[in-house]
């Protein structure tokens, strides 16, 4: 909760920035602090943090090999353990080049998209209720001889937006339904499509102290600015306690460990010491789990580009002026943690790490702990301008519906409605400056 003084200072600084024609971005060059890399190639998301000690670099590289491993059904000469049901066979396929997967060209082929499911209601911890026979996620592929949980069917709904200067923009929303379910799907099952997300900078986000994140929270909009970001608190089965949610589209995961182990079992059907069947050896070892977790924490953050370009600076001023920075807060700081190289860094992820109501259009109507069916965690914008270079597409938002950044902005409703309206009202020149700034990140 912001007290009056802090919110006054914040408002003044926002006004000051808003009055500036340009923003000096030179202080934001080291987007990842000492973990920043300066490559602008298709490999921009894949470098190890440059400040890793030799031992930590070695551990990172071990994790990298595991992250790229393709798993197959046991028994196998190497990499056994896949399935019997799964979404994909390697970490890298949902996190291609440590970036964003494209929305699938063919909905039933392997891709970086998965469907979260649940029943109405909550479990004992306030979390989503698993669907009997399906769990919390659909596995739409299976190893040879087994039946997947379901297949997908895809339709699009189209919408049309008109910017104030008359420019028309077509928006589309994918509607994915299940077919060929292995058992009947209970009526009223809640479903939400989810695309894979970039891997870099995650350790830094994990190391932001909880108090700093809470400072940006304003659940009841006490400062009256129309923004009411709030934290998600989730039960972590591994730690057996409730923690701040940081990762995932609705901030439904608290730690990298849990994310890693969950991804292995849910996305690939691979058991580990954390999630295994009784009386069976886990399919991967704790060592591999640790290596992949470590890898996930220590990828370098790509530096923004062209930060002294006039148009970029003008775009940055607009970014603040129309309210983007209220949720896509540029600066964060990390505290102390086990990995020294991630500790005490000033970083520029452009996220407040909080949940926001984004309106009806983006709603998936599937709550997840404290996140309602209309709430989403503010996505970090660092590296976003490199997406087409790294992954060959520009698909954004939780279900990959936005085909470019303009579309993504136009889907902002709810708390983002005012910023969207302001975006629509920009002159073409201003709009292009804003987009140039966002693409410079």
């Amino acid at each position: 909760m912001l007290n009056k003084k802090t919110s006054l200072i914040l408002s003044i600084s926002l006004i000051l920035v808003a009055c500036m024609k340009e923003v000096d971005l030179s202080s934001r060059l080291y987007a990842g602090g000492e973990t920043t890399s300066f490559s602008a190639t298709s490999n921009a998301f894949s470098f190890p943090a440059p400040n890793l000690s030799p031992e930590n670099l070695h551990k990172h590289l071990e994790g990298d090999l595991q992250f790229e491993a393709i798993y197959v059904k046991a028994p196998a000469l190497i990499n056994a353990g896949l399935g019997p049901v799964f979404n994909t066979t390697s970490c890298i396929s949902c996190h291609p080049k440590d970036g964003r997967p494209a929305f699938p060209e063919s909905i039933n082929k392997r891709s970086g998209l998965l469907m979260r499911v649940s029943l109405e209601g909550e479990d004992e911890y306030g979390g989503p209720l698993p669907v009997p026979g399906f769990g919390l996620q659909i596995q739409n592929h299976a190893v040879y001889g087994y039946q997947p949980e379901a297949a997908y069917s895809l339709e699009y709904q189209y919408f049309h937006e008109k910017l104030d200067d008359g420019t028309e923009v077509e928006l589309r929303k994918p509607i994915i339904t299940l077919t060929n379910t292995h058992i009947p799907l209970p009526p009223g099952t809640l479903m939400s499509p989810r695309m894979g997300t970039p891997m870099f900078g995650l350790g830094l986000l994990e190391y932001i102290p909880e108090e700093y994140i809470l400072r940006n929270a304003d659940e009841h909009d006490e400062d009256g600015d129309g923004i009411s970001g709030r934290p998600n608190y989730v039960y972590d089965s591994f730690l057996d306690k409730v923690v701040l949610g940081r990762f995932g589209w609705k901030a439904n995961v608290g730690t990298i460990e849990t994310q890693t182990a969950t991804a292995f079992i849910e996305d690939m059907g691979i058991t580990s010491p954390v999630f295994k069947n009784d009386n069976e050896e886990p399919e991967i070892s704790q060592e591999i789990l640790d290596q992949v977790s470590f890898y996930s924490r220590t990828l370098a953050v790509p530096a923004p580009r062209d930060q002294d370009n006039k148009i970029v600076k003008k775009g940055a001023a607009l970014f603040h002026k129309i309210g983007c920075a209220s949720c896509h807060v540029p600066e964060q700081k990390t505290g102390e943690g086990p990995i020294a190289e991630l500790s005490n860094q000033v970083i520029y992820p452009y996220t407040d790490m909080l949940l926001h109501d984004m309106g009806e259009g983006l709603a998936d109507n599937r709550p997840d702990y404290l996140a309602t069916g209309r709430e989403w965690k503010t996505r970090p914008l660092w590296g976003i301008g490199l997406t087409s270079r790294v992954n060959g597409h520009t698909h954004f938002l939780h279900d990959g519906r936005a085909r470019n950044i303009t579309e993504a902005i136009l889907w902002h409703g709810g708390e983002g409605e005012n910023a969207k309206k302001a975006f629509k009202a920009l002159s073409k020149k201003d709009r292009e400056a804003l987009l140039t700034f966002i693409n410079s990140l």
Binding site: F38, A40, T41, S42, F47, L52, I70, I78, Y144, H393
Partner: protein, 346 residues
């Protein structure tokens, strides 16, 4: 393939421009030559080799040892060209998911054997919907068998039918790969040739040079620390032959030789008799003759040691372990020299 081991040695000082005295800017020429005279011809040759492989596979018959030999040679030939593309594994090979379609590894033997045991006809759809049973190593497994010792009489009609569909799919993917660089509204080559102009993905020719350099570095890292290291040392001090990427054919050494050739092609800018500009020329024209000489020497050394290995890498990792370890070291040294090119920030 990833850039695993690059540490930006000079990153905190960085962003400096290259020195401008006595320097001719040949970046554009280098990018043009690498794109048009190295990358695209290699992809074209790969496609032709895939056509030959397909043709050879269509002639397979149970018991026909000659046809089997021809098919295996055709596989090896196509493999050589593919390995020569691995120093530039960016662009459509990645974006269009052609790499997994051609070179997915390991292959899932349960899936392959399962598909074989079905009495149905094997279709293109089956190949496409089983990504872990597709491409080089599916064909390799079917041609050589699990234990590197299959004979023509050991085949059955169903396996041959499987091979024919797989080889057809294989050829199509190599065609798609080549076409993506040269055909259509926005052939990928334009991204490299027109850097800095919409709609290129790249802001500048410097970024493209960086991309090519990182491609080389990524490959060398993979060769040293995965392709050689895993079979040699995945279990400390004990060879693990099944970690070899071309285990079924026992042609992994050829993979390594052609990977180094790929590096050489990008470094010298030469391909198939065509003498053009590459990273070597870029270094020379920027007063970096010392680094140029260092890379030349390290490349020569790596090539020598790898070429001298026994043809059977399975044998080498068991009986010539010191030699294999030396090959790994030489490739690593070459890798480290190329990292210095990145730090020059052309």
């Amino acid at each position: 393939m990833k850039l695993k081991s690059i540490v930006f040695l000079g990153s905190l000082s960085m962003l400096a421009c290259t020195p401008t005295e006595n320097v001719t800017d040949i970046k554009g020429e280098v990018v043009d030559n690498l794109t048009n005279q190295v990358v695209i011809p290699t992809y074209s040759d790969l496609h032709n080799a895939a056509k030959n492989l397909n043709a050879a596979v269509q002639k397979l018959e149970v018991g026909n040892e000659e046809a089997l030999t021809e098919a295996r040679n055709a596989w090896s030939n196509a493999r050589n060209f593919w390995e020569q593309t691995e120093a530039f594994l960016f662009g459509p090979v990645d974006f269009e998911e052609i790499d997994p379609a051609l070179d997915s590894w390991p292959v899932d033997l349960t899936a392959i054997n399962g598909i074989l045991s079905e009495s149905n006809e094997i279709t293109e759809e089956i190949i496409q919907s089983n990504p872990e049973a597709r491409g080089f190593h599916l064909i390799e497994f079917l041609l050589w068998g699990e234990n590197q010792n299959k004979k023509a009489v050991d085949f059955n009609a169903h396996e041959i039918q499987y091979l024919k569909v797989a080889a057809q799919d294989f050829e199509q993917n190599t065609q798609r790969l080549h076409a993506s660089w040269v055909e259509g509204d926005q052939p990928f080559k334009l991204h490299l040739l027109n850097a800095g102009q919409e709609p290129s993905n790249y802001d500048s020719t410097s970024d493209v040079i960086q991309e090519f350099t990182e491609g080389v570095i990524g490959l060398l890292d993979e060769v040293a620390n995965a392709k050689i290291a895993a079979p040699l040392n995945a279990e400390e001090g004990v060879a693990k032959p099944e970690e070899q990427e071309s285990f079924f054919s026992d042609l992994t050494k050829r993979d390594l030789v052609n990977n180094l050739q790929s590096v050489s092609n990008i470094f010298y800018g030469d391909y198939n008799g065509n003498d053009g500009k590459g990273i070597s020329d870029l270094l020379a024209s920027n007063n970096q003759e010392a680094l140029q000489a260092e890379i030349e020497a390290n490349l020569k050394a790596a090539v020598e040691v790898v070429n001298a290995l026994p043809e059977s890498f399975t044998e080498a990792i068991q009986n010539n372990r010191e030699q294999v370890a030396e090959a790994q070291n030489k490739v690593q040294a070459l890798h480290d020299s190329f990292v210095k090119v990145l730090d020059l920030k052309f």
